[in-house]
């Protein structure tokens, strides 16, 4: 795009794909099929309200409330809904718990299935070829890239969620977090802990 007038409206020239995306939205708006404010609202929803902070609340609650943990592992959807979370791409949830002998990881080898209501939209690495290819065929090597080394006797279970079920990993609570409040615990539950590519650790700052 070398048109000076056009550049005036854009900080940089639009790429071909960007222009195509803008044109599709414009066609749909012109026809009255898609409202511009609905697009804005959906973008804002997943940027601000739906993200791993939701899943962290679920995990922290399961860490402090044994009855809740049981409900969560038995029938995840209503337990997650108790905290106000649910919706598209979380229609059929299963929560899988890590134990000293079992470590769970989630992947979608076919595309990018991911539990949106509790984790938001997936990061780029989750939906890119290396993770989709290798999570099932060399999980320990993938975990090593994330800085996770598991003992040899820990069984890894990789959940390939390419149909209707969406998984969330319930990580183990770090042993040195006794007495922490639920809010303090939420702060150490990262997105990757709930995908299964990280382990939560007690941090001084979180406990302060």
């Amino acid at each position: 795009v070398s048109d000076d007038h056009h550049d005036h409206h854009h900080p940089r020239p639009a790429s071909a794909v960007e222009l195509r995306a803008q044109a599709l939205e414009a066609v749909l708006a012109e026809r009255g099929l898609v409202s511009t404010d609905a697009i804005d609202a959906v973008v804002t929803l997943y940027e601000q309200d739906v993200g791993p902070q939701n899943g962290a609340k679920v995990v922290a609650r399961a860490w402090v409330d044994h009855a809740y943990r049981e409900r969560l592992l038995t029938n995840a959807n209503p337990a997650i809904a108790e905290l106000g979370f649910g919706g598209v791409e979380g229609d059929n949830m299963i929560v899988v718990a890590n134990t000293p002998r079992v470590h769970n990881m989630i992947v979608c080898t076919l595309c990018s299935c991911y539990p949106w209501p509790v984790l938001g939209l997936p990061p780029t690495w989750y939906k890119s070829p290396p993770y989709r290819a290798r999570a099932v065929s060399e999980p320990r090597s993938v975990l090593r890239e994330f800085g996770v080394e598991l003992d040899d006797d820990v069984e890894i279970r990789v959940w390939d969620s390419s149909a209707e079920v969406r998984y969330l990993v319930l990580p183990m609570r770090p042993s040195d977090t006794e007495g922490w409040s639920q809010t303090e615990l939420e702060a150490i539950v990262t997105r990757d802990c709930m995908i299964g590519t990280a382990l939560p650790t007690a941090r001084e700052s979180a406990a302060a």
């Binding site: 599709l24 066609v27 697009i39 959906v42 076919l110 290819a133 099932v136």
Partner: protein, 185 residues
């Protein structure tokens, strides 16, 4: 079990998109990998896809199956949201919501400096926010036109049955498989 997995692999989902176990893609952890979408248009394509789905504007096979129609080289060359743009455009064409060539025509108008048309519809926004917060439990394989829900089974495989022996030892791969992907032994 290996035979069952191969049946699955050969049943419509055999293509470059079926990436489990493929070699040569490199590192998982790379700069830029943490972000959800790098550019504004990507978030808007995601939102257009959601409106198309919840407002039932598209037609034909599901979005993922449409992405799998891309030639392998194009699929690999495209960024994630380029594939989404491809699938939402095809589904809108197949329902007749947009005509072939219409997007290209609008690209020329925008390129010539015409302001992009906008449309406001508060009721649609409300429907979208309500729809996204609602559970939609009925599903079926995206690559079929069969009507109605279909059961999904989580089928666990020992890694050695899928990939042979590994220096990583043995782990479990649990695949979610639609009932119609399974064969009676």
């Amino acid at each position: 079990l290996r035979r069952a997995y191969l049946e699955y692999a050969n049943r419509g989902v055999d293509g470059v998109h079926d990436m489990g176990g493929m070699d040569g893609f490199g590192q998982v952890v790379e700069p830029g990998g943490e972000i959800v979408s790098a550019e504004r248009w990507e978030s808007r394509v995601f939102a257009i896809h959601m409106v198309e789905e919840l407002e039932d504007l598209g037609a034909g096979p599901g979005a993922r199956a449409v992405r799998e129609e891309m030639p392998a080289a194009d699929y690999l060359a495209a960024s994630y949201y380029e594939r989404w743009l491809f699938s939402v455009e095809r589904r809108l064409e197949r329902s007749g919501a947009i005509a072939p060539g219409e997007v290209e025509q609008m690209m020329r108008r925008l390129h010539d400096g015409e302001p992009a048309p906008t449309h406001r519809d508060a009721a649609m926004t409300e429907r979208m926010l309500a729809g996204l917060a609602t559970v939609h439990p009925i599903g079926r394989p995206p690559d079929t036109d069969r009507f109605g829900p279909e059961p999904v089974y989580s089928v666990a495989f020992a890694s050695c049955d899928l990939w042979g022996p590994s220096e990583e030892g043995v782990w479990t791969v649990a695949l979610d498989l639609w009932e119609s992907y399974l064969e009676a032994p």
